[in-house]
């Protein structure tokens, strides 16, 4: 078998060295009740690459890919063009098959990448320090709430209605037994500011509040100035946690750091990762330097070696599970190393100029499409300001519209009914994302299809 280098002669020689008669002898501790007579039933036997390829390619062919249809699906994962260089870099064996850099002398490649990544994320978010990444945006957000509780010693967490409902759901699940009290509201489709609830949040802050969590741009695409909320939090001794699910937005919009955030978490998927049907993605986590010892996740720091040369190491490990065990800041072990590398390479290729250009392009194209679709009979654009994502009120249940658009070959957006099932007030909304990858032909196809579907529903 192609992945097993041992020959039968090798095995015999090794058994002789060990002093065992057969490999079965090495499994002597397995109780009789757990011994199997042969290969596990119900599973195929080994096969070559060709057969595996054939089977998996057949499965892959049953999916409609984002590049083969006009594509406008967002809500926390975005289709951006990833330069060819990125995938070539992450496929280098020295990056792909390396481990966590616990022996830093022979892992300076990984460590320097993490140091650069941390610097990039801190600057992008307008914060002072960032960690070496987490699983994804949703778990990063949960970790931020835990961190806020450790810092403030309070338990009440207010979550904006504009936060991605998957993220809020994850937070609720993971805080059920930790003593955190999560207060989350249902969004409203307020014209000009869908899902925007800053005033309600400010009014709800009290002496028990550890943090307020808000997403910017929010689920509906709305962009807001969070400074008044930051001020209100700080006056009350609470922390402001800002969630960014579309990291490219930070090439166009003022950073959460500038607006007064204490912790910024986000999803880095837009740069370097690709869509990947939901994973592996990239959790981003950044905060103020004064809180660094309460941060979860891995941290890479600068130091010197015995010859005085600059080098990098994982540091402040006493926060982590392998040292603190049940007193750890988090149970997390892995980061999203390879995806962090992809993010860093993509951002290096863009540079600041390229990122701003990319963001401006996304925004301009989204404005163009928003105005066109807002003129389709029956469809109303709800947003005032937005970046590259906006919400249309279709005046009827949106989920069947999305399905019919798909039948016409257009992947038009996400129906709120999928994310907020059971909320009748939201069922008529569809969220549309536009990136640099959509063409004018895609715009035409979407507008025509939406027109036809809306008319068909009317008739």
């Amino acid at each position: 078998m192609r992945y097993l280098p041992l020959s039968d002669a090798d095995r015999a020689a090794m058994l002789a060295t060990i002093g065992a008669a057969s490999i079965d002898d090495l499994f002597a501790d397995v109780p009789d009740a757990a011994r199997l007579p042969g290969p596990i039933a119900g599973l195929p036997l080994h096969t070559g690459e060709m057969a595996v390829e054939r089977a998996l390619m057949a499965m892959a062919a049953r999916n409609t890919t984002a590049s083969t249809a006009p594509f406008f699906v967002g809500c926390g994962a975005y289709k951006h063009h990833v330069p060819a260089t990125v995938d070539m870099v992450i496929q280098r064996g020295e990056f792909l098959t390396a481990y966590t850099p616990y022996q830093p002398e022979i892992a300076q490649g990984t460590l320097q990448v993490l140091f650069e990544f941390q610097t990039q994320v801190a600057r992008l978010t307008g914060m002072e320090v960032a960690n070496a990444s987490m699983y994804d945006g949703s778990t990063a957000m949960t970790e931020a709430v835990f961190m806020a509780r450790r810092i403030t010693r309070r338990a009440r967490c207010l979550v904006s209605a504009g936060v991605h409902p998957h993220y809020t759901s994850v937070l609720k699940t993971l805080t059920r037994f930790t003593g955190d009290v999560v207060v989350a509201a249902t969004p409203t489709l307020a014209p000009g500011a869908p899902g925007h609830d800053l005033d309600a949040l400010i009014a709800a802050i009290d002496a028990d509040t550890s943090c307020v969590v808000v997403q910017n741009p929010n689920l509906f695409g709305h962009v807001a100035d969070l400074s008044p909320l930051a001020d209100a939090c700080h006056t009350a001794g609470a922390l402001l946690i800002v969630v960014v699910t579309e990291i490219v937005s930070l090439g166009a919009i003022a950073s959460p750091g500038e607006m007064g955030a204490d912790i910024v978490v986000g999803e880095g998927q837009s740069l370097g990762a690709g869509l990947l049907f939901g994973g592996p993605y990239l959790g981003l986590f950044a905060c103020r330097e004064k809180h660094v010892r309460q941060m979860p996740g891995r941290l890479c720091g600068e130091t010197v070696d015995a010859a005085g040369k600059r080098g990098f190491v994982l540091t402040l490990s006493t926060r982590e599970q392998h040292i603190r065990r049940e007193k750890a800041t988090s149970n997390i072990c892995t980061n999203s190393g390879l995806i962090a590398l992809a993010f860093s390479v993509h951002l290096t290729l863009l540079g600041e100029t390229g990122l701003r250009h990319l963001a401006a392009l996304n925004h301009a194209r989204a404005v163009q499409l928003a105005d066109r679709l807002g003129r389709v009979p029956g469809a109303t654009l709800l947003n005032g300001p937005f970046f590259n994502e906006f919400t249309l009120d279709l005046g009827r249940e949106a989920r069947p519209v999305v399905r019919r658009l798909a039948e016409r070959g257009v992947l038009g957006g996400v129906s709120l009914g999928r994310l907020w099932p059971g909320e009748r007030t939201l069922a008529s909304a569809m969220i549309v994302a536009v990136t640099e990858t959509a063409t004018d032909e895609d715009f035409d196809a979407f507008e025509d299809a939406l027109d036809a579907v809306m008319e068909g529903v009317n008739a």
Partner: protein
């Protein structure tokens, strides 16, 4: 270092060590193929870029006056400079592709390239998790197929696919246990954990509102059965056990322990990090396990990527299956596949403890793991376990006369061999010194100082993808280094000497953390 000013002429551009002719220092700081590489922030420029984008249409902005005005501080590089920057950095990394990576508990096996090719098929890579489900039936079929493999390999009736890594999977299993207890109104909160357990175990238990108590090991390195049985009671919610355990030994009493835990009303969580030792030969379901996370990046060959991403699906017993998180894939009456998410949870997963992560799980790792499983098949996977165990026992047998092997007389080890630093006593040298010496020999060292139950632990897991020749080379080097250390300790305190960096000052890094580049701090 002084220049040679007497005798033969020296070239001005290379400094030579007097008397030997060896190159001491170069102008660039490079040493032939060992290339130094500055930070991106020392190389790039704000206006550097390696991407050509279409022009921005002249559309008035609609950002509500929130345009980002101040410079961000992100340098860019052209494509050639970018490729060179990262290629040079990559060459400062040890990797499985270069040599044996015998980290105990990490299962650093070869990462097949077929996995990478399949994961990049656009049909898997270029699909969005929120596309209408009718457009991604092939992706759902893949998840379903992988779930089937995992259930059959483990003999368990259910599996939660969404956890993003091993520790996340542990959290899933323990949350399911907590949900099951809450569902029957049972307030027991104690979780028993062997003292040799991985740190994530007690950390995870604490997050689910449990309190942790340690169970000692016996003289043979296994869980002390009497101590375990004596401690069981109506306050014990669960036992978290690793099998094979972190000393690399099979827990022969696990069936007995599971039966006793169940009789006492508790659940058995199994840490599946060491599944490589038994995959295809033993099913955890036959050992009475209620929940076990599987590290796809260990047993099933998905790449470690310098620290992640992982994937940690959790197989579940019938008792825990109703509490599994959403979303998961099910077959509809019409024969299509659908994700059970928030909107259908009421009908198909009313007792689910909820959602653990946005979207559906690590699809990229699912494709890789399935390609691997299909390649090996049920027979090949059993062979994987056999060769993994054979390799570890070969290393143990070849080193135990020099290296202290605390459990060498307690029967065969499984897929990893455990040594302690007792044999270095009196030399003043430690496990760390030995590990750093192995670096100069061209190896990544074994796991150091884990498990905590043995002094100066060295946990060595070769995996099944190492040839006998590779093992012989490692054994030879380890025998050589140990022998030399015992004979002449003083010469071995400063390793490594030949790596891209000498020993790094980790104390300084923690005392004065510098976690990002600052312009004013440039040397």
């Amino acid at each position: 270092m002084t220049m040679n000013t007497v005798g033969r002429e020296t070239r001005l551009d290379i400094a030579l060590v007097p008397g030997t002719g060896a190159v001491a220092a170069t102008f660039t700081g490079n040493r032939a193929l060992m290339l130094e590489e500055p930070l991106l922030f020392e190389r790039g420029a704000a206006d550097g870029s390696g991407v050509d984008l279409p022009p921005v249409p002249p559309v008035p902005g609609r950002l509500g006056g929130l345009a980002r005005a101040a410079p961000i501080g992100l340098p860019g590089l052209s494509e050639p400079e970018t490729v060179r920057h990262y290629t040079r950095l990559s060459r400062q990394n040890y990797a499985i592709d270069l040599g044996i990576f015998p980290l105990g508990s990490c299962t650093m096996k070869h990462n097949p390239r077929l996995n990478e090719k399949m994961a990049r098929l656009p049909g898997f890579a270029d699909i969005h998790p929120l596309q209408p489900q009718s457009t991604v039936q092939g992706a759902l079929a893949l998840i379903d197929r992988l779930a089937d493999w995992l259930m059959k390999l483990t003999g368990m009736p259910a599996v939660a696919m969404s956890p993003k890594a091993g520790a996340h999977g542990e959290l899933c299993g323990m949350l399911a246990i907590r949900a099951a207890l809450d569902a029957r109104g049972d307030a027991r909160r104690v979780v028993l954990v062997p003292e040799s357990a991985h740190g994530t175990n007690p950390a995870t238990a604490a997050f689910c509102g449990f309190t942790v108590e340690n169970i000692p090991a016996n003289a043979r390195g296994r869980v002390d059965l009497d101590a375990m049985l004596a401690r069981l009671g109506p306050d014990v919610a669960a036992v978290m056990i690793t099998n094979p355990n972190t000393c690399g030994l099979f827990e022969p009493d696990l069936i007995t322990i599971s039966a006793a835990v169940h009789a006492a009303g508790g659940y058995v969580y199994c840490d599946g990090a060491n599944f490589n030792a038994i995959v295809g030969r033993v099913r955890p379901g036959d050992l009475g396990v209620d929940a076990m996370h599987i590290n796809l990046h260990k047993t099933f060959s998905t790449p470690h990527g310098g620290g992640g991403p992982g994937s940690g699906p959790v197989v579940l017993s019938a008792a825990l299956a109703p509490f599994a998180p959403i979303p998961f894939v099910r077959q509809t009456a019409a024969g299509t596949l659908e994700l059970v998410e928030e909107d259908t949870a009421g009908a198909h997963a009313p007792d689910s403890f909820g959602r653990m992560v946005a979207f559906h799980g690590q699809m990229g790792m699912f494709v890789r793991a399935l390609a691997y499983m299909m390649s090996h098949g049920a027979d090949g996977l059993a062979r994987v376990a056999e060769d993994a165990v054979l390799n570890a026992n070969y290393v143990l047998a070849s080193l135990k006369d020099i290296y202290t092997a605390p459990f060498a007389n307690s029967g065969p080890c499984m897929h990893e061999a455990l040594f302690s630093d007792d044999f270095l006593e009196g030399t003043g040298l430690t496990t760390l010194d030995l590990a750093k010496a192995l670096i100069d020999e061209g190896f990544h060292p074994m796991t150091m100082y884990f498990p905590l139950v043995v002094h100066g632990a060295m946990l060595l897991e070769p995996t099944e993808t190492e040839s006998k020749a590779n093992l012989d080379q490692l054994i030879g080097a380890m025998r050589h280094v140990a022998t030399q250390m015992l004979a002449n300790p003083d010469a071995w305190r400063q390793s490594p000497h030949l790596a891209p960096r000498r020993r790094l000052d980790e104390t300084l890094a923690a005392r004065r953390p510098v976690l990002g580049w600052k312009a004013s701090a440039a040397a």
